[in-house]
């Protein structure tokens, strides 16, 4: 099944495979286009290569087979990465953590200050510049982590199960905040999760993955209206559809 890579694809994967040293195939023959402006979720059970795919897209690992085309220059400026853990530097306060990407690219503290303040206010943390990660709740640390990923104004935001370690309440809140963030920044998001509800709520497109070797088995598009989406019949129907896709994937 060959798909056309439209002019709006930010990243295209063609027949991509990834094999690690122990000759375990983490991914095999993956075709995928990441289209500008979409919210794409990679959904699947553990070991299906979701995280591997994010690492390949970010250039943190190299593909073993096939090709991966990025249609933008300067990967460091164009990609923001949010890990499963907040991954903050414990010795640095909130400002310095968010400042880090700009600092690594040679910006001075003073010239970076407006961008840092803006990123922090985007995630609802304006005014907590001086706090240390240790002093923040799990949800707030994750917000700082997202602010750090946004501070370069990336075109592509990669998120690897960012809310998996949070409690349900913080998670629902951050889901809504993420959708608002996407509206405000216009970033394209690739989001990894193993929660059916989260993927249904957030995504415009869901790629269902299966393990052994990791591959994409189904793609589901969601263009239902956002208004009261979580309570709508469309949401329930989408969850069911995703769930069926997953079951199908596990049976193969």
């Amino acid at each position: 099944m060959l798909k056309m890579s439209g002019p709006h694809a930010l990243v295209s994967l063609r027949g991509v495979g990834k094999t690690y040293a122990a000759s375990v195939a983490a991914l095999r023959d993956v075709d995928l286009d990441i289209r500008a402006g979409e919210f794409l979720t990679l959904l699947g059970p553990s070991g299906c290569g979701k995280s591997t795919m994010l690492r390949l897209i970010a250039g943190l690992d190299c593909v073993s087979a096939g090709e991966l085309i990025r249609r933008f220059e300067d990967v460091g400026a164009a990609i923001g990465f949010v890990f499963q853990e907040p991954t903050l530097m414990p010795w640095a306060n909130v400002f310095n953590n968010v400042f880090l990407p700009l600092r690594l690219r040679g910006k001075s503290r003073r010239s970076a200050a407006p961008a840092v303040a803006e990123a922090l206010s985007l995630v609802g943390l304006a005014g907590s510049h001086k706090a240390y990660p240790r002093e923040l709740s799990g949800g707030m640390r994750m917000r700082v982590s997202i602010a750090r990923a946004l501070v370069m104004r990336p075109r592509l935001l990669l998120m690897d199960e960012p809310f998996a370690a949070l409690d349900e309440i913080a998670r629902l809140q951050l889901n809504d905040d993420l959708l608002r963030l996407k509206e405000e920044t216009g970033a394209t998001i690739v989001f990894v999760t193993h929660s059916i509800y989260e993927s249904a709520y957030l995504s415009t497109r869901i790629a269902v993955m299966a393990p052994g070797p990791g591959r994409i088995v189904a793609e589901i598009t969601n263009d239902a209206p956002r208004e009261n989406f979580r309570d709508s019949p469309a949401f329930a129907a989408l969850c069911r559809q995703i769930s069926e896709g997953l079951h199908q994937a596990m049976k193969e």
Partner: protein, 264 residues
């Protein structure tokens, strides 16, 4: 009332050990007086204190010598240990080549190396070398461990933003290694003093550059037991001072972020 509340925390921390110390010294003094033990067998604490004052022209310069050697050795151990740890972090090959040498130097008791060093070096340099050798290893191994114990995701993040090796070292590995380094420094500080004392004992150097350990040996030959106690008191005071100041440095540097310092 306010005074009581304010001093309560301070009292709780220092009162018990102070009471125990005072009781022990009192008991010691009482036993010496009660049984009229002669000072060449066991001097009373009051006599030790008096000797400390009367012999200050001999003891305090000796303290200065020992403390000077110790701090000099510690400074060299910090420079050498950190530099080598950074080198290890940059190249596995260097680590494989040099780590065994460092381990051999560490596991060989310093007191056994001292006589050899005394043949090749003058007394002062030999004492310095011994103190350096013994303080060097904990600083090296702890710092190397710290530089390697960095959150892998943060390493990835630095890679994503195309940070150079040097900046990754400076902005990520160095701060991550700081608590480890400070732990090694606290051990190394105490060991440097032990190394200096051990080497002074082996050297037995007299004259102007004589340290506290030599004064203990010398007083021993003369059966001047009160002076031995007074010198011993200064040695342990030096050890306490080194440990306390390195702990304070550690608390200051790790201040707000590290688990080891934060109060629950």
């Amino acid at each position: 009332m306010t005074l009581v509340i304010k001093t309560q925390g301070w009292l709780r921390q220092f009162l018990p050990p102070a009471l125990v110390l005072a009781a022990a010294l009192g008991l010691w003094e009482a036993i010496v007086r009660l049984y009229a033990i002669p000072p060449y067998i066991l001097p009373a604490p009051s006599l030790v204190l008096a000797t400390l004052m009367s012999d200050r022209a001999i003891l305090f310069p000796a303290l200065g010598v020992t403390l000077g050697t110790t701090l000099e050795a510690l400074a060299l151990a910090i420079i050498g240990g950190v530099a080598l740890a950074v080198l290890f972090a940059q190249s596995k090959w260097v680590e494989r080549a040099l780590l065994p040498v460092a381990i051999v130097l560490q596991v060989t008791p310093i007191i056994a190396i001292a006589p050899l060093l005394l043949i090749y070096l003058d007394a002062r340099a030999a004492v310095l070398a011994c103190a350096f050798l013994i303080a060097f290893f904990p600083i090296l191994s702890n710092t190397a461990l710290g530089l390697a114990s960095v959150d892998h995701n943060l390493v990835d993040l630095f890679a994503l933003y195309r940070a150079s090796r040097w900046r990754t070292l400076l902005l990520l590995r160095a701060p991550a290694a700081l608590p480890f380094f400070l732990g090694g420094l606290r051990i190394g500080g105490g060991l440097a003093l032990i190394g200096a004392i051990a080497a002074e004992l082996a050297a037995g150097a007299a004259g102007k550059g004589a340290g506290l350990a030599f004064r203990i040996v010398e007083a021993g030959y003369r059966l001047n037991v009160p002076r031995m106690f007074a010198a011993l008191f200064l040695v342990s005071l030096a050890g306490i001072a080194i440990f306390a100041s390195l702990s304070a440095l550690s608390a200051y540097l790790l201040g707000r972020w590290h688990e080891s310092v934060l109060k629950r």
